[in-house]
């Protein structure tokens, strides 16, 4: 598992990176944290002729509040978001980071890299669509904003042009009642199904059930009724939204995961994401993948798994 030969270029500015991208064309790939690309290169599934390293471009690694909005630089790592104090408005972002791979991955992987890679179960992709993020990209013609809803186009495919670079992600509105949850057999695995919910928007986004993060209007409609009636959402509406989501998705049997199971997970996870979202800001740390929430000790004397 050693990559094919490539040339390494270090960009020092965004303009420089764009210049290299323009000059080197489709044979070039941008590398930041390298957490997906390097693995693909080592398996020789990706064989770029040129790597353009943007990791040391100054100014792309900041998180800042801009009125209602939150701006996250493309080079901000998952771990930086996980440990940042984003306040109740964007706490969903920090909380969701515990689902991203393992700590070493989170300390190297970047927000921009995750969006550009566009895995349909990746937490950042779900969060971007959930919160109507604007993805700020720079190309030879200057900068443009791409709404997250238009950014993801298919399996590992985005609206990003080959000569464009993600520089920033803007989350335009606070989401104090939002949550993301997942299920996988192991902590840190790609989710079999991931669900993200914003009760106020309302928004329901699913990962693992479509080639891109999937918005589920049928489930959102259930939550919208609750919002319009100014009722405090409770278990019944959560369960109805979850059932609507499970009903709405178009999934097939796959080796190891039947369509039925994926629907069932969807129902469970949407309901749990709703519960978790409703609990904020008295927020509890959620369940780990493959595990059940809650303290199951009969008494404090008994050691159990972490």
């Amino acid at each position: 598992v050693k990559p094919a030969p490539f040339s390494y270029h270090r960009a020092r500015t965004v303009a420089g990176a764009v210049g290299l991208l323009t000059e080197l064309g489709e044979d070039a790939k941008v590398i930041a944290g390298g957490q997906s690309l390097v693995a693909m290169m080592n398996f020789r599934l990706a064989r770029p002729e040129h790597l353009i390293d943007i990791a040391r471009i100054p100014g792309l690694d900041t998180i800042s509040r801009d009125g209602d909005a939150l701006r996250i630089g493309a080079l901000v790592t998952h771990h930086a978001v996980e440990t940042a104090d984003l306040g109740p408005d964007f706490r969903v972002l920090s909380d969701a980071m515990r689902w991203v791979g393992h700590l070493p991955i989170r300390t190297r992987g970047t927000v921009g890299g995750s969006l550009a890679h566009a895995d349909a179960t990746a937490e950042w992709c779900l969060l971007a669509v959930l919160l109507d993020a604007q993805i700020l990209v720079e190309g030879p013609a200057g900068r443009r904003r791409i709404p997250a809803g238009e950014f993801f186009q298919g399996v590992f495919t985005t609206a990003l042009e080959p000569d464009e670079l993600i520089v920033e992600v803007v989350f335009p509105r606070p989401a104090p009642r939002a949550a993301l949850t997942e299920f996988a057999e192991r902590q840190g695995d790609f989710a079999i199904v991931a669900a993200a919910v914003d009760l106020d928007a309302p928004r329901v986004i699913l990962g693992g059930v479509a080639p891109v993060p999937l918005r589920v209007p049928e489930a959102e409609a259930v939550l919208a009724e609750v919002v319009s009636e100014k009722r405090r959402p409770g278990d019944v509406s959560h369960a109805r939204a979850a059932a609507a989501a499970a009903e709405a998705i178009d999934v097939r049997d796959e080796p190891g995961v039947s369509a039925h199971y994926r629907r069932a997970l969807t129902r469970t996870l949407v309901a749990r994401a709703c519960e978790e979202a409703a609990r904020t800001p008295d927020h509890q740390f959620g369940a780990l993948p493959g595990q059940i929430r809650g303290d199951s000790r009969p008494s404090d004397d008994h050691a159990r798994q972490g």
């Binding site: 050693k2 057999e185 199951s296 798994q305």
Partner: protein
Amino acid sequence: MTKPRFRRDGAWIGASVPRREDPRLLAGRGRFVDDIVLPGMLHAQFVRSTVAHGRIVAVDLDDVREVPGVVAAFSAADLALSDITALLDRPPHEFVPTSMPVLARDKVRFVGEPVAIVIARDPYAAEDGLEAAVVEYDELDPVVTDTAALADGAPLVHAEAPRNTLVDVSLFATEGIDDVFAEAPCVVRVQTKTGRQNALPLETRGVVADWDDRDEQLRVQTNTQIPHQVRTVLASCVGLAEKQVRVTVPDMGGGFGQKCVVGREEVATAAAALRLRRPVKWIEDRRDALTAAFLAREQRYDVRAAFDMEGHILGLDADVVCDMGAYSCYPFTAGIEPLMASAEMPSVYRVPAYRVRGRAVTTNKAPTGPYRGVSRPQYVMVMERLMERAARELGIDPVEIRRRNVITVFPYTGVNRITYDPGSYRESLDLCEQVLRDEGWYDVRESDRIIGIGYACFSERTGYGSGAFAQRKMQVVPGFDISEIRMDVSGTVSVTTGTMSHGQGHETTMAQIVADRLGLDIAQVKIVQGDTDRITYGFGSFASRSITIGGSAVAAASEKLGDQLREIAAHLLDADVDSTELDGAGGVRLRDDPARRLSFAELADVAYLRAHLLPKGIGPGLSATASFDVAGDGTFSNATHGVVVELDPGTGGIQFLRYVCVEDCGVAIHPQIVEGQCRGGIAQGIAGALFEQVTYDAAGQPLAPSLMEYKVPTAAEIPDVAIHHLETPCAFTANGAKGAGEGGTIGAPAAVLNAVNDALRDTGVELDDTPIAREAVHRALEGTFA
């Protein structure tokens, strides 16, 4: 329990002293194979088959040799090496010998099989070289499952093995067993399929080889558990005398059995180094480790057990099919799994009638070898499922039914003609249940949560001597170990062992044994292992044999040296040798006049530098050699595991609430190491029960080529384990110790599976296959709880 024969007054045995390996390992100053760099060293990688089954039409390496950085490329025809062939002394209807060529010659039999070796100046260029290889195959229909292998008209993986069957043995068939089943009031059946697993040592396989002109030796530094057997195969494959091959083993990052067989890659790498007269290194990458290394554990059981109304087992009737993959491993052969399962399935229970058929079938998948526990995780799972199923049928508590069947009077000779030495089967079961009751888990089980409690009660034969292995009819019969001890002129000692630590801390535990026998500090003891030039012969480490057999040999050699020291001291002190004793502080004294004493340094000084002072008949120097073999059937460690799990009806998720292990390995030389063995073994057992599986598609392409797909559990998935110790010392190993290497792995799958099924008790669903699919758990719960 019998009284121990050994004296338990040692300062070192039983003490969890800091491991002597740890300062270097924790500081990153260990030396593993990949740390070795020799001048001018080249790097090897392998062109591997891309098809599961095919005839090789042509291997064209011309373009490979043109790739920048590539120094050489060899196919089977270029190296002309002898095949690796492992044999059993069994008749043709029981065992079909097959050969494993070092590089595939005429045929490829699994995806990942080495076809050619590429040597380059760095590992990157080596992989560039692989891409330039052109291998033309005439594809044949692949045989991908055990059932397909046994089907009428199945394609043959090896032409010489009809019905793709390499081993077919019926070791036991109690007369009248059919009547037992016909008349029994209760017959239960377990049919199970267990997933193919990879032992997955953290450190992958690797080797550095070079030819040394001065010593006229092929020097092979390799991370093997069996250095002498590697030497034998290497010498034979490349055509050298054994004295011309030196196998040494640096630090190892685990083996678990995967490194207990001779690898084709280590032979090919050494052959390339010999041909090129340059050092060559091969480090297996993780993809190759997952797809082309020796695998294990894919077995199918169909077992019936007959019981009387009181829950006493009356008979056991078993059919075992092991999917051994493409080749028979050296030295164990493809018989390793079916023979183990057949010989030992009755487990800790008094089974009066037993019939078993064990088969090894060959398929177009990566070959298998030993993996920690070898078949025992599987047959224990089957036995423990049978017990629980019978308990349910008969309305007997599942722990109680075990109590009624477990062996309590020792020694016990079973229907399988094995004699079991004393153990604490019943005691471990009682204590394990008591712990879970006292902690309140039975109350929690009655709550409205979906909670189950499961047990596994089992023993583990350790310290297989020559006699035990001879019964398997292997042509290479491991069993004994030889130890040579040498005291130097300063009074410190170096001690050889034929066992091979691959992470178990033998430099510490063997030194503890020596230190106690001679009355030395362990700092004055050096353990020498893993060097075929310095060690007469050894069988390495596997089957939990190191402390039981190797440790006994080390103890015996130490005692011989102690006798020599006493003889010299007696002469110098002008006393009778019987009036002397080791003083426990590095010297010999007179028993009745302890002030008259000579230190080992003083005695060594005489033995080497003033030999004229030695008594008549005692030559210069201080050294002794001793060997040890287990005369009987080996010694049985035992344990009971108790597990509490909770199931998530929304996802099928499985969470551990509690894991209790009550183990008995006799005298623990180093209790902390024993506990580490338990915990690590349990983690691997849980991996098999709930996570790991090597899978293939219908064409025989591996579906788990990375750790993304091959789901090794992490610390997040493995529970804390509470360990309780019982101690039934072994009467016939030198230190009272039994083996402790594999028990955790053996008990965990059964206990976990039983716990999950107990949690499913209201659903009418029973899950017997491993790894347990979360989807299956979810489906089972859906009707009842969702």
